[in-house]
């Protein structure tokens, strides 16, 4: 176990190397090696600055320069992001059983998708590394994600009002196939990026369409049930905040040490 400060450094290093397109296996190797070093050094009474010097940023840079950039892995991320965006947009209508495609929608998807991929790449590879040591990094990432999701929703709503002529309307069977394909994309992305986000976010996004498809219309529009749903969500949110605060308090009581 390392101190909170060392853990923060290792997280930042991992993020920095990822943002520079370094190979995952090599990132794991160097962060594990440094973790062992930090652990032993801290046991000997040294702190993180004794190991990485006065400038963590400079140290991260020197580590990054010694590692090769994995262009194959980076090249794999772009199609994955495009597939993910497509899956995010398609999964809702497919669950509701009314997936369709129009020329206008395809154009919007291509333009909005390109902008989103470009903006995310710029944010992750160029902007975020400059803010790594600032508390603004998390705000920036979250803000950009929220803004991007909001923009997507606005584009979708605008698209629905345009009444473009569909060139393809899915049959009930095709809708189910699309849902299955989207699920595969989300799972593959989760395995590829080693995070749960690409499974958790679509699950949340799918709650509404699932309710629309499987719950009868009169129940769905009943104010009592809407109120029950809202209360359930508030309770879940409160419970999650409580767990988060309890964990934080426990960590602070342990003198900032990770409690694993």
């Amino acid at each position: 176990m390392v101190s909170k400060e060392s853990e923060q450094f290792l997280t930042e290093l991992r993020f920095y190397l990822m943002s520079k397109g370094k190979n995952d296996d090599e990132i794991n190797e160097i962060t594990e090696e440094l973790e062992v070093h930090l652990m032993e050094a801290e046991a000997d009474g040294k702190d993180v600055s004794y190991i990485i010097g006065d400038s963590p940023k400079q140290y991260m840079k020197s580590i990054g320069e010694s590692m090769s950039t994995d262009y194959r892995q980076m090249a794999g991320l772009v199609p994955l992001m495009i597939l993910l965006l497509g899956a995010y947009v398609s999964v809702g209508p497919a669950i509701e059983g009314n997936f369709s495609l129009s020329k206008g929608m395809l154009w919007i998807a291509i333009i909005a998708g390109s902008i989103a991929v470009g903006a995310y790449s710029l944010l992750i590879f160029r902007v975020l590394p400059k803010f790594l040591h600032s508390k603004w990094s998390a705000v920036l990432l979250l803000g950009a994600s929220v803004a991007m999701t909001g923009l997507m929703v606005m584009i979708l709503l605008w698209n629905q009002k345009q009444g473009f002529e569909p060139i393809f309307t899915a049959t009930p069977f095709q809708n189910n196939v699309i849902v299955a394909v989207c699920a595969v994309i989300f799972i593959v992305s989760a395995i590829y990026t080693k995070t749960w986000f690409t499974i958790i976010i679509p699950l949340f996004l799918s709650v509404g369409p699932i309710a629309n498809r499987f719950i009868p219309q009169d129940v769905n529009e009943d104010p009592t049930y809407i109120l029950y749903t809202l209360i359930a969500f508030v309770i879940i949110a409160a419970f999650m905040i409580f767990i988060f605060m309890a964990k934080r308090k426990k960590m602070l009581n342990n003198g900032g040490k990770r409690n694993v």
């Binding site: 440094l34 062992v36 070093h37 190991i51 140290y59 010694s66």
Partner: protein, 109 residues
């Protein structure tokens, strides 16, 4: 980076190779050995970018081994190429150090 560190750039590679030649060793031990030989102004982490580069150049090889506590340790050994590089370094160093000695002691050839 301190002036001493700047001076040591390039020399450290050779010193690391020489220490690794003594026997299989992992990062923390390596840093401690460097310190015991008098390299006290260096940050311990300085060795890792160098080790990464030397590993990539095939001068050293690494094996992961279980440790008594915590994650696995990465142990380094010298390769044949590393031994040749160390020999070259020793030759170059002897030449540089005798030249510097001559300058400092005003002994022209």
């Amino acid at each position: 980076m301190s002036d001493t560190t700047q001076m040591l750039k390039g020399i450290l590679d050779g010193c690391l190779l020489a220490i690794i030649k003594e026997g299989e060793i992992y990062g923390y031990e390596l840093a401690a050995k460097l310190e015991s030989y008098g390299f006290r102004s260096l940050s311990e982490g300085t060795i890792y970018p160098l080790l990464l580069r030397m590993q990539k150049e095939g001068l050293i090889s690494a094996t992961l081994r279980k440790s008594t506590a915590g994650p696995k340790r990465k142990y380094y050994t010298l390769t044949e190429k590393g031994e040749q590089e160390l020999e070259l370094f020793i030759g170059r160093w002897e030449q540089v150090s005798s030249s510097v000695d001559n300058v400092l002691n005003k002994r022209g050839i």
